[in-house]
């Protein structure tokens, strides 16, 4: 029971980050290697706001707003100029953004390690097991957001436009869709979701520069599931969380990293497009 909750909590945070990656990849074909860094810097903002006495219902909007602003700034200043260029350029630019944010973390937050306080009471007894309320909060918060993203993508008009852009950008542009705006919205949304993931991560674990590694696990999740599939991101996140949990329980934590890497390489060798990704067509000469 406790184990299931822990796995679902971890998976929830990974799923949020992976969904952000997928949203960005689908619309702009950029692999955002700065997702983990962005999530953690937002978590730092949350830590500072709650640390200076603001309640959680103000801290969360502040965190999400940081994510939104970061998304807009990154999109307008770095991503729009390179739209449509080779994927190599996109990856390199996000690597630059990642290291830049890491530096900002050190400058503004001293690279310190902190924790977030739980917004609710102490512990809850659930069918005989004592569980910290923050764990239930993370569980509900993360999967609730996952559901919201899915609903947004499939049942809102902006979601429809985003899907159109991801299917065929040229066609979408020809039909009068403002591609620039849609891609921008995707970036902002993805980073808002990433900020939420950072906040929830801070609820259950430590916030530090090292914590940016959650971004790597989310990347692995997205790759296992398929870079352009929402369903894949969720399945990938669950797989990563389960594999991580089981290896730590049965073997040791060093092997968890290696196991994830091996799993991803195996998946990519046999299904390079991931479990649920679209099989990309051969290029024409």
């Amino acid at each position: 029971m406790l184990q299931v909750i822990t796995v679902l909590e971890i998976a929830g945070v990974y799923a949020l980050l992976a969904l952000g990656l997928v949203m960005i990849y689908r619309t702009s074909r950029v692999l955002n290697l700065a997702q983990g860094e962005l999530a953690i810097i937002c978590a730092y903002v949350a830590a500072v706001t709650t640390g200076s006495g603001f309640p959680w219902f103000l801290a969360i909007p502040a965190t999400l707003a940081t994510g939104a602003v970061a998304g807009a700034v990154i999109y307008i200043s770095t991503m729009r100029p390179i739209l449509g260029e080779s994927p190599v350029v996109g990856i390199m630019t996000t690597v630059g953004v990642a290291i830049l944010i890491r530096g900002l973390m050190v400058i503004f937050f001293g690279g310190d390690t902190t924790m977030l306080d739980s917004p609710f009471g102490d512990t809850v007894v659930l069918s005989g097991i004592e569980i910290g309320s923050e764990h239930l909060f993370v569980l509900g918060g993360s999967w609730g957001c996952v559901l919201l993203i899915i609903l947004f993508n499939f049942y809102s008009s902006t979601g429809l436009l985003m899907r159109a852009v991801s299917d065929d950008v040229t066609l979408a542009a020809q039909r009068g869709i403002d591609v620039d705006r849609i891609v921008g919205i995707a970036w902002v949304l993805a980073l808002v979701v990433g900020a939420m993931a950072g906040y929830l991560h801070g609820q259950r674990a430590l916030i530090s520069t090292a914590a940016t590694l959650i971004g790597v696990n989310a990347l692995i999740a997205a790759f296992i599931g398929g870079m352009d599939s929402f369903r894949g991101a969720i399945v990938g996140a669950l797989t990563v969380a389960v594999v991580e949990f089981v290896t730590i329980q049965l073997v040791e934590s060093h092997w968890a990293e290696i196991a994830l890497v091996v799993l991803m390489l195996v998946v990519l060798t046999f299904r390079p497009w991931g479990l649920f990704g679209t099989v990309e067509e051969l290029e024409r000469v």
Binding site: L2, Q3, T6, E9, I10, V106, G110, G111, D112, T113, M115, D117, S118, D122, T123, I129, E130, I131, G132, H135, R204, A205, L206, S208, T209, A210, A211, L213, I214, E244, F245, I248, Q249, E252, S253, H254, A256, E257
Partner: protein
């Protein structure tokens, strides 16, 4: 003027500028100590106060006229927990700044490189937080430590636990998957087995950010006592998630320069204030001793909040006292080699900041250490001593097979 000669003149001017710019500054009539530590990595809140303690002591010394009229200058460098940067800084401090010794250092992974350089350049290096096997007898030349050697701490943990938790039981040792961690739990295991305990060991990666599964694994070993040998913050992370995993029994943390405030924050987040123990070779700042009052008074004098003084400051202060004693013994001028001779046979009483004097003699560059267990008192939110000082020799009692 032709293009060629114009550029040539420019190049020569440029080279001259570089040469004058890079020239070393002249040595002044002060003792120059090199100080390398981590001021920007994840453990900055551990290492920075140690530096503050070290600086406070020498600020006071300098204000009182220095050592025999000569001021002490501390040249600080940030290694960012990176072994290569630490080594580069050590080279630079020795060759450009001409320091006569290196102090503090950060994580144990930076130590082998620095000790190696220290020996090569005949400049003593004294670590104050981490400690590795190179300072235990037979110690490497020029390598000293007043820090927390994990294997000695492992052996003393059994002795301390025997006082507090008499009788046999199950214990779990938690540490990071590194050479130091490995040795710590191997020695903890030996010393606890000797006292009739059954021992489980849990290792985890120092890069780990997910503590949930780990906490459940520790709780799942059904221990009656948990002992950890972990860096700060990881200690708190493990505490919180082991509690969340359902273990409410006693936990004993090796205090590797873990400041009290951080530990208390962890206790509050974990929600269980009973059964929190920490064992330390330095007096925690929650105690009241004349020396601690002295540190707090000095802090106040130099514009620091005396309430912020923590065990980390004590660690820095102690190594500064050692440095002062060694410099005095060395006299003037005091190049690295002479300071090494002074350190090679020294014993400095630290009053009630440690259980006994810091002693280096012959091939023992660690000396006997004294350890004490503190228990968290939920009512006053302070750590209170529950044992007396227990000595731990630097020669290891248990031989661990390789």
């Amino acid at each position: 003027m032709t293009r060629m000669s114009r550029s040539a003149v420019a190049a020569i001017l440029c080279a001259m500028g570089l040469a004058t710019g890079f020239a070393a500054p002249a040595a002044a009539d002060t003792y120059k100590l090199g100080y390398i530590t981590d001021l920007s990595g994840p453990f900055v809140d551990t290492f920075k106060p140690v530096l503050q303690g070290f600086e406070l002591y020498f600020k006071r010394v300098n204000e009182a006229g220095g050592i025999d009229g000569r001021k002490v200058e501390i040249v600080t460098r940030d290694d960012q927990l990176n072994a290569q940067r630490a080594a580069a800084h050590a080279r630079e401090l020795i060759s450009s700044e001409e320091v006569n010794s290196l102090w503090a250092m950060s994580m144990s992974s930076t130590l082998p490189g620095i000790y190696k350089l220290a020996k090569r350049h005949k400049v003593p290096a004294v670590s104050s937080v981490s400690a590795i096997g190179m300072t235990l007898p037979p110690a490497h030349d020029y390598a000293y430590s007043t820090g927390n050697p994990f294997n000695v701490a492992g052996e003393v943990a059994g002795k301390l636990a025997a006082q507090l938790f008499p009788g046999k039981g199950r214990m779990t040792c938690v540490t990071i998957e590194s050479a130091g961690g490995f040795a710590a739990c191997a020695h903890t295991e030996a010393s606890f087995k000797d006292r009739g305990f059954t021992v489980e060991k849990v290792f985890f990666s120092p890069r780990k950010v997910e503590f949930g599964p780990l906490g459940q694994k520790i709780a799942g070993t059904k221990p009656q006592l948990v002992v950890t040998h972990l860096p700060p913050r990881l200690t708190e992370g493990v505490m919180i998630h082991t509690r969340a995993g359902g273990y409410k029994g006693p936990m004993m943390f090796n205090n590797v320069s873990i400041n009290e405030a951080g530990l208390i924050q962890g206790v509050e987040k974990a929600g269980v204030s009973e059964g929190v123990y920490t064992f330390s070779r330095y007096t925690l700042a929650h105690e009241e001793t004349p020396e601690l009052a002295e540190i707090k008074a000095t802090a106040k004098k130099f514009g620091m909040d005396p309430d912020a003084i923590a065990v980390n400051h004590v660690i820095g202060w102690v190594s500064a006292r050692l440095a002062e004693a060694a410099l005095k013994k060395c006299g003037w001028p005091c190049p690295g080699d002479a300071l090494n001779n002074a350190l090679d046979d020294i014993s400095v009483d630290m009053g009630q900041l440690t259980g006994g004097p810091i002693t280096f003699k012959g091939n023992d560059h660690q000396g006997t250490s004294w350890w004490k267990v503190y228990k968290f008192d939920g009512a006053s939110k302070r750590f209170k001593p529950v044992t007396d000082w227990v000595s731990a020799p630097s020669t290891l009692q248990y031989k661990i097979k390789n």
